[in-house]
């Protein structure tokens, strides 16, 4: 067994555990949702409403709102976990990025950095490694967080370019900066290897403040 084979098996194992965890979470959320719903029902159908305790409907609304948010995150987690089922598969770049943005948004928020998306709706599906693409994108995005100042915003875009899909990440400062500052940094060897395995290309070959990066990826031959 090669090191690669072992890594693939390991990734599949992590994915399986994550998928199981997200399934369990949905069951817990379903119970919270139904229990809150039943309280609401009992108040509504009793004919008395929440007379005497007006806070109850507000609290129930808050529970419902949080259940919906947690459910959305769990759906993303489940999809993310299943990316690891197969090394290569057909997938939508927009969906892969949508869930990744949702999952890394917390890291950005801790640095007061906003994430926005602007995805082209009808992109070709790709036959490639979605898990590796997510990893490469994460490895490119994270340095961006580190160098951007607080209150910055990163806009993540997708566009069709022939048979390929370009994934862009630019800071919102880009439009106001005539010439990019000198601050730039090389892409790690790990990221370069991931990009190479995807058969993708990175333009420009590094991440620069005020410019960002563009990753061009297509289906594997």
């Amino acid at each position: 067994m090669t090191e690669d084979d072992l890594r693939v098996a390991h990734l599949a194992f992590v994915g399986k555990l994550l998928a199981g965890l997200s399934h369990e979470n949905k069951n817990h959320l379903a119970i919270i949702n139904e229990s809150a719903g039943l309280i609401q029902d009992l108040l509504s159908f009793s004919g008395k409403g929440s007379v005497g305790n007006e806070k109850i409907p507000k609290m129930l609304d808050l529970i419902a709102e949080r259940v919906e948010k947690a459910n959305q995150m769990t759906r993303y987690l489940s999809r993310f976990a299943h990316r690891m089922d197969n090394l290569v598969s057909m997938f939508s770049v927009n969906e892969a990025l949508e869930e990744e943005v949702a999952l890394v948004e917390r890291f950005a928020r801790q640095l007061n950095i906003g994430l926005e998306t602007s995805f082209e709706p009808k992109l070709p599906t790709l036959h490639n490694s979605p898990a590796l693409l997510q990893f490469a994108f994460y490895e490119l995005l994270l340095p961006f967080f580190t160098v951007l100042g607080k209150d910055s915003t990163i806009v993540i875009t997708t566009r069709q370019e022939g048979a390929a899909v370009s994934i862009g990440a630019v800071s919102s400062e880009q439009s106001t900066i005539a010439s990019p500052p000198a601050a730039s940094w090389p892409v790690s060897e790990t990221t370069q290897t991931a990009i190479s395995r995807l058969g993708a290309s990175l333009l420009p070959p590094g991440v620069q403040r005020g410019v960002g990066f563009k990753l061009l990826v297509s289906s594997l031959a």
């Binding site: 399934h23 949905k26 379903a30 119970i31 139904e34 229990s35 029902d41 489940s78 299943h82």
Partner: protein, 129 residues
Amino acid sequence: MKKIKVMIVDDELEFANTLQERLEIRGFEAVVAGCAGEALTLVRQYRPNVVLLDLKMPDMSGIDVLTEIKEFDPGIEVIILTGHGGGADKKTGMERGAFDYIMKPVDIKELVSKLHQAVQLHVAAQPGS
């Protein structure tokens, strides 16, 4: 007016019992089966109009339960109600005759609407209707 009979099949009893109560409040008649074996016994005794079926149960897969229910009586509509994320199970479930596939947690209004749709489909399929 005759009540719509619903059988909830789920090993998460806290979920199933709460949902049962919410459906009863809304005028449905509902029973709970806590495992696949109990569901296959109860479906013969209770003769529900609609089954709400979880996919992941310890004694048997929901897809196998769906197949047996449909073999017993194709007129019983089955709605898969699960936390398991779509994909192959959704495709298989729909191919084996499920009326719909709904993810937990579910909005009660959406579920009630699906139950009515399922029953209407069954009524429409009756000879002479």
